[in-house]
Amino acid sequence: MSYVALEPVALEPPAHVTSKRRWLRDNLASTPLNAALTAVVGVVVAWVLYRLARFVFVTAEWEVVRRNLRLFMVGQFPADQLWRPWAAAYVLGVVIGLCVGVASAVAAEDPRRLAERSASARVTSRTRSVGSGLRRFWPLVLFVAVVLSLIRTPLPGLLLVGLAAAVVLARMVGRRLPGLARWLWLVALVGVVGALQVVVAAGGVGWDDWGGLHLTLFVTVAGILLAFPMGLLAALGRRSSLPAVRAVSVGYVELFRGVPLVAFLFIGQYLVVYAFPSSIDPPSFLVRALIVIALFESAYIAEIVRGGLQSIPHGQVEAAQALGLGTLQTMRRIVLPQALRNVIPALVGQFISLYKDTSLLAIVGFFEVLDVARSVPSQSDFVGQGLASITLAFAGFLYWVGSFTMSRESRRLERRLGVGAR
């Protein structure tokens, strides 16, 4: 005789109850060996934290950073012209806020995300969004806090708060204007050129005299913007069906990836000067450095874009051809949009990498953040006090904030774009 259950038996999964104590035990002392490990590592970590806290709050003489904060930020920019970098920062901040706002408005209209959202609760209280903003941008918040703690006058603090407000405001405006999406590239272009003009034009300071974080950011952004078209071209060339074009692209990419950036900066210093016709004055060293940095970066961008192109299934190309699209149209309308979307996180990674690599400019004599940190301890007021650890730690913090924030945002973007997931 057999028994058949006619009603489906709904067995609940076993309740997964973990008390805090249980969780701690599982994570810190699941076995005696694990507990011993916790104890040993705990002691070491506590000691390191203690030494670090002592260094930051007790022993370190931050006076050397406080007095030279302007050098760290803008190099030897004339004091009476300081409103220019501030204005440029505001222009850029507004443009970035606008772009982010428009992008999120467009993303919100995406039907897939709309369904996702209506499924989840839609309640977001204002305090929660402020809290999540702090959590999301805590490295930046830390940066602002550190700078404010180093400044005695109220003006920079107010300007920083104003900048943050401007970014948030621009983002709110952007969210109302999803129609701007088609012209976003124009807005970004106008913003970047405008910010540049604010600093340079009408009695401003040319970029050859820039320094500090200001120079670092300029070289990073200009380097990527110049490198991207070349990298795209090299990637397309590498995927070309014409053997000669492919060979040239492969040679270009491998040549530039096999040599360190330092060697290229030497080339910018000693070789690029002579590559211009003798009838004209060679461009300034910064422009030459930008040329070699762009060439160098373009090889890496080419490899990233190639990865994106390879990730597009061939069926896409075949479908486009079946619809009667030509080679160029297939590339522009079908392959490239998907390929570039897939590699946005990798491109951000390359951007971070260039941001860090700008420190190499210190080797060839540019007064950027690392060079400021190296030279400041030998000022007559501070010489011989072994302050290098303090200034270098501060420079490291400046690099870390930018790079860590960007890498966190990139990972967030990666999740939202659903790269590698369906």
Partner: protein, 393 residues
């Protein structure tokens, strides 16, 4: 039955402006022609400018005496420029080789720590990775040099760590093994022991395969090998000894001494690159399909066996290409030594240029050497990679 006739292709070839073959050939000729034209223009500018400035365009300067001094080397100023470049290559390889080994060890340890079940270990490793990954390697090197090593006591009051490590603000030294007189004899005995152990291993495997009895081959051949190695080491009165560094006068004797610059470069590059390697190790272990581990568990494998036989081999295969990329980066980043005055290839190139050697040629030689090093490492890596890759149909 119906017969469909395919319309016959039009006889002859299409006109040239429609012919794929002609168009493709034409496009390639135009592309290569444009490139050659640009390069020729730049080269023409270069030679013209050099001639105006009276800079030689040949490579004869390589035979001239270099007139430079190189610290930590028996290089003499009267030796030719080409010899100085070779010293630079040697020093670059010295950074790369030591750095690669230490990076692999440290990176693996930190990567595994990031996967630890212990919260504290996991979080500590995460902080290590996220801190170092996001600062420039040059800053790490300069920090190690000026904030750590240069702050060490002078050589007279050098710190001695258990006879293994001597630290001062001019030189660092680590203990190193030195070979004694009886080393050859010991090596011979160890070789014989290894052969015997291999034979026993094969024999036990055969016995086990034939009879199904446990083979105990690790026990059998391992103990034999252990007895041979340790026994002969003791009998021969220590064929390999550790040379302890110690401060003698104004220098360090014994062990391996190195300049602060070298120490800073290797230290900086190792802790920077290891943070990247650790992320790769973690990512690859996590990238192995969960089902693999679960299947192994279902087969009754213990957690150690699961890791050793199922997860790690697959993770290694995923990790290898990006790790090799990082090791190439480390090799190229050895050029950052220029900031701390260690005489590797880039730093020496700069010094030689300052000694009125023609810059364009020096820079070209520098590029060529780096490309050769990169290509050799890539080729080696590709050979390893190909042997490890899954053979798919």
């Amino acid at each position: 039955m119906t017969v469909t006739t395919v319309p016959a292709a039009p006889a002859g070839r299409p006109p040239p402006w429609r012919d794929q073959r002609v168009l493709r050939a034409g496009a390639q000729v135009v592309a290569v022609g444009a490139l050659v034209a640009v390069l020729a223009y730049l080269y023409d500018n270069l030679t013209t400018n050099l001639r105006i400035r009276g800079i030689a365009t040949d490579f004869d300067f390589l035979d001239n005496p270099s007139t430079i001094q190189i610290a930590y080397s028996d290089f003499r100023a009267s030796q030719p420029v080409s010899d100085a470049i070779l010293v630079g290559v040697k020093n670059t390889l010295l950074v790369a080789a030591v750095g690669i080994v230490l990076t692999l060890v440290l990176g693996t340890v930190v990567g595994v720590a990031r996967l630890s079940g212990n919260l504290l270990v996991r979080q500590t490793a995460a902080v290590y990775v996220e801190t170092l990954r996001n600062v420039p390697p040059l800053l790490v090197i300069v920090f190690a040099n000026s904030a750590l090593f240069l702050q060490l006591p002078a050589i007279a009051e050098a710190v001695d760590v258990g006879g293994l490590l001597v630290l001062s603000n001019r030189e660092l030294a680590v203990a190193s093994p030195v070979v004694g007189d009886s080393f050859g004899a010991w090596l011979a005995i160890v070789a014989v022991g290894s052969v015997l152990a291999t034979v026993i291993w094969a024999w036990r495997t055969r016995v086990s395969d034939a009879s199904g009895a446990p083979h105990h081959r690790v026990l059998w051949s391992g103990s034999l090998l252990l007895v041979t190695v340790v026994g002969s080491y003791l009998a021969l009165d220590g064929p390999v000894r550790l040379s302890h560094p110690s401060v003698v006068g104004r220098g360090i004797s014994g062990g391996v001494a190195m300049s602060i610059g070298y120490g800073a470069v290797v230290f900086g590059l190792v802790i920077y690159t290891s943070s990247h390697v650790a992320e790769i190790v973690r990512g690859s272990v996590q990238a192995v399909d969960r089902g693999q581990g679960e299947a192994a568990e279902a087969l009754g494998l213990s957690s150690g066996q699961r890791l050793r036989h199922v997860v790690l081999p697959q993770a290694f295969r995923i990790a290898l290409p990006p790790i090799i990329n990082q090791l190439l980066n480390l090799t190229k980043n050895s050029s950052l030594a220029i900031a701390v005055g260690y005489a590797e290839l880039s730093a020496l190139t700069l010094v030689l240029i300052s000694q009125a050697n023609p810059a364009p040629q020096m820079v070209l030689i520098l590029m060529a050497i780096y490309i050769v090093i990169s290509v050799v490492i890539s080729l080696l890596a590709n050979v390893v990679n190909r042997r490890l890759q899954l053979v798919e149909r």
